[in-house]
């Protein structure tokens, strides 16, 4: 039985969150985690961190994992979810999505829209979120599509299923979202904003980003990466995750690996430029030493696209453990949420994905999804709820 609490968060975000919560500012109160004790009896627990546990029990209290292991006793009166013969995984985390969000503000080039907050747009009662929940995704980093390079705005870290906008939010501040382009105006605008933040003035969000309190999600063409690295070089504390595109991606893999960069990309086969030769970028990045977070192919937050995409990569010799990590703990780390998400550990949110087999087996079906101990999808319901 594992009873030790999880390690304290590495980042300071949790500290900040605790402080904010103390001040009553944290909207986490919006989510009503069930107070009853829930016990999941699982044929197999895949915790991502550590080995799989056969015939394990996960005890949930107040939305958190209270205990898990093969020899955990189920307390009297606990609600029991019988997942015998089934496998339990942590809920999946998507590190970059525009699901249910309008296209970003257009206008000035370059953009300097740090005040543009995705949180203002949230509306949970969209089928898209329920479909994402049904495919096992419990956490999304939401942003808007950029229509001009520069600072796009403040993303939102959300639960996929919630009753109201407030209870969707996982944290008070979202990630800083940047659309990078290597040109004088964009570089000037970004450098100006980052320098101001570093100097203590400037936008509050950019300040948090420069201090590493919130993650920074940067979308860029691979060709522009060297200029981006040059730009952010002085801001050592920034926690950057990259969304990379363009035909030069493959050429940049060794550099991304060398830098142990965090890279967010779709779980799909791509092609070597100018050829029909298949390339497994997630595998290559993983092998080169980069941290990889996978997104559903073609932004399909529905059905089994994500799992099947991963399965195809695994068939192409992407390590299965790395594949699972790329949709759980790695994106959680990139978003600064690994202290509560991304793995099954005592003290972490009870976001569970219960499936009737190996998640990477195409025949496997997802039978139940829990967010913080509350079932948000149950195959038995026969549809979305």
């Amino acid at each position: 039985m594992r009873s030790t609490d999880i390690a304290p968060p590495r980042g300071t975000i949790r500290l900040a969150a605790a402080l904010l919560a103390g001040l009553g500012l944290l909207p986490a109160a919006g989510w009503c985690a069930g107070s009853a004790v829930v016990a999941v009896r699982a044929g197999r627990v895949v915790p991502i961190v550590g080995d799989a546990i056969d015939n394990g029990v996960i005890l949930i209290e107040a939305g958190r994992i209270k205990a898990l292991g093969a020899d955990v006793a189920v307390p009297e009166g606990a609600e029991v979810i019988d997942a015998a013969g089934q496998s339990v995984y942590p809920g999946l985390v998507s590190a970059w999505s525009t699901l249910g969000i309008s296209p970003g503000p257009g206008g000035s080039r370059p953009a300097t829209n740090a005040k543009h907050q995705i949180a203002d747009e949230l509306y949970p009662h969209q089928d898209a979120y329920k479909q994402a929940g049904r495919m096992g995704i419990t956490t999304l980093a939401l942003t808007c599509g950029a229509r001009a390079p520069g600072i796009v705005g403040e993303g939102a870290l959300v639960r996929t299923v919630a009753d109201d906008s407030e209870s969707m939010l996982l944290s008070d501040r979202g990630p800083l979202v940047i659309e990078f382009r290597a040109d004088t105006d964009t570089l000037g605008a970004l450098r100006g904003a980052l320098d101001a933040a570093k100097g203590g003035s400037g936008d509050a969000l950019v300040k948090l980003a420069v201090q590493g309190e919130v993650p920074t999600l940067i979308s860029t063409s691979a060709a522009d990466l060297p200029q981006l690295w040059k730009l952010i070089e002085p801001y050592k504390d920034m926690r950057v995750a990259l969304i990379v595109s363009g035909s030069e991606f493959l050429q940049l893999v060794p550099k991304l690996g060398e830098r142990k960069a965090s890279v967010i990309l779709t779980a799909a086969i791509s092609y070597e430029p100018f050829t029909r030769n298949r390339v497994d970028l997630p595998r290559l990045l993983d092998e080169a030493g980069a941290k990889v977070a996978c997104l559903p192919p073609a932004a399909a937050y529905d059905g089994d696209a994500l799992r099947f995409g991963l399965a195809e990569l695994v068939r192409g010799s992407f390590d299965a453990k790395a594949a699972l990590r790329s949709v759980t703990l790695s994106p959680a780390e990139m978003l600064g949420l690994d202290y509560r998400l991304g793995s099954l550990e005592v003290g972490k949110d009870a976001n569970l994905l219960i499936a009737d087999g190996d998640l990477l087996d195409v025949k496997t079906r997802i039978s139940r999804v829990l967010i913080e101990g509350t079932t948000v999808y149950d195959a038995a319901w026969g549809g979305l709820r």
Partner: protein, 431 residues
């Protein structure tokens, strides 16, 4: 004929692909001192450009620079040896204009450079190791945009930018009298500013209390033209436009780079006398004016004629990018072929090679670093499998700063292409 010469050479030496081996394996005599970090290109015909051809010579590279070249050089122990026997070794080609390197618009090229991408890959495979990049441009204005000379140091952003800006792109054409007049006004104002500034400096030095003169519109750039700090680059095709542009030299004493002349061959003295540099495309064809008896239109002898008039020439192909949807043979994939066209029009071969190496480097203001095989220059070097101006010659190796960045045998682009040989002898029955 060139091919046969090379075929004979190759037969004699057995067909060797350049390969990189350690000096000891190659059996080179170790010289004093460690050769660690030294690259030796051995046994090739060194087309130095500035100092003739060294047959069967050796070239040494250290720390990205050419440290020695000649015959009978000993290769230090531990040096990386490139066997270039039967090959041509020459400086990397310098494109006096290179398109497609930066995407979009930028105020400074330094901010938009990236050391990866197909343009760089294709350029290195074509022997082009540096080029002139322009962003923005005069548009409807008399001048504008920026430009730079960029080294194609694939994978290394820091080594890319050599100079920015290189020149001032002017719009000056008889077809646009408004911007022509505006430019002249602005140049006069800038000239006046310089006069006042000199007076001001003098007065100030003399202890007088005076106000500095106000900078006129565009003055920051135009004064650089007037002081000769930067040359102007102007496109002009036909003789009347070229003559108008030459007027700028006479009236304002600016240094001029004339790009894309077609009828320059009709007024070679006017161009040569003013020490104007010319960037041109020898194969350009344009109709003669059938209603004018004086020479008009294009001549494939333009390069030869201008060169004879003392003009420093750089040659660029009709298209200055790398196109793969047609136009092969008309763009930078085959820059030497454009120089061959000039030779076809009577330009001596060595002049033609200068026009794609040292001349373009000098016109771009980087002649001290690029464009020839000389001790102290950047080790931007290409190894070719035949005469540089032959239509069947390929680049086999491209080095930038002494590093092999392209190897034909390892790249997919052209490694499948084999020389199929010369024309067959006659069939006896065919007589």
């Amino acid at each position: 004929m060139t091919r046969r010469l090379f075929a004979a050479l190759l037969c004699a030496l057995a067909l060797l692909t350049p390969s990189v081996v350690m000096a000891e394996e190659a059996g080179a005599k170790p010289a004093g001192g460690s050769g660690k970090g030294v690259v030796a290109i051995q046994g090739g015909d060194l087309y130095t450009i500035t100092d003739g051809v060294i047959r069967g010579g050796t070239l040494l590279i250290e720390a990205g620079k050419i440290t020695a070249l000649g015959t009978g050089l000993s290769v230090p122990e531990g040096a990386e040896v490139i066997d270039a026997r039967g090959k041509v070794v020459m400086p990397g080609l310098v494109a006096a204009r290179l398109s497609g390197l930066i995407r979009g618009d930028t105020k400074k090229i330094a901010d938009a450079l990236g050391p990866y991408g197909s343009t760089i890959t294709f350029a290195l495979a074509s022997g082009v190791t540096a080029g002139y990049v322009q962003a923005g441009g005069p548009g409807d204005q008399p001048f504008g945009g920026t430009n730079a000379v960029v080294k194609l140091t694939e994978g290394d952003l820091e080594g890319m930018l050599l100079r920015e800006p290189v020149d001032v792109n002017l719009r000056y054409s008889n077809g646009d009298p408004r911007s022509k007049a505006l430019l002249r006004q602005q140049l006069r104002a800038a000239k006046e500013y310089l006069r006042k500034k000199a007076q001001f400096d003098q007065d100030k030095a003399a202890g007088k209390k005076v106000d500095p003169p106000a900078m006129p519109p565009g003055g920051e750039t135009l004064t650089k033209l007037l002081t000769g700090e930067l040359p102007a680059r102007v496109s002009a095709e036909y003789s009347n436009d070229i003559l108008s542009v030459l007027q700028l030299v006479d009236d304002f004493g600016i240094r001029l780079i004339l790009e894309g002349p077609i009828e320059g061959w009709t007024i070679p003295e006017a161009i040569g006398r003013r020490k104007v540099d010319v960037i041109m495309t020898p194969r350009t064809q344009a109709e003669r004016d059938r209603y004018i008896s004086a020479p008009t239109g294009s001549s494939n002898e333009q390069a030869a004629i201008l060169s004879r008039a003392g003009v420093r020439l750089a040659i660029i192909p009709p298209s200055t990018g790398f196109g793969l949807w047609g136009g092969f043979g008309e763009d930078l994939f085959t820059l030497p072929l454009e120089a061959a066209h000039a030779v076809g029009g009577g330009l001596p071969e060595d002049r033609a090679l200068e026009a794609i190496t040292i001349n373009s480097a000098q016109i771009l203001g980087v002649g001290d670093r690029l464009g020839s095989l000389q001790v102290g220059k950047d080790a931007d070097i290409i190894v070719m499998d035949g005469h540089p101006l032959d239509y069947r010659t390929f680049v086999e190796l491209t080095l930038v700063n002494g590093k092999v960045l392209y190897d034909k045998s390892k790249s997919r682009l052209f490694s499948h292409i084999r020389d199929k040989g010369d024309l067959p002898e006659a069939e006896p029955a065919g007589q």
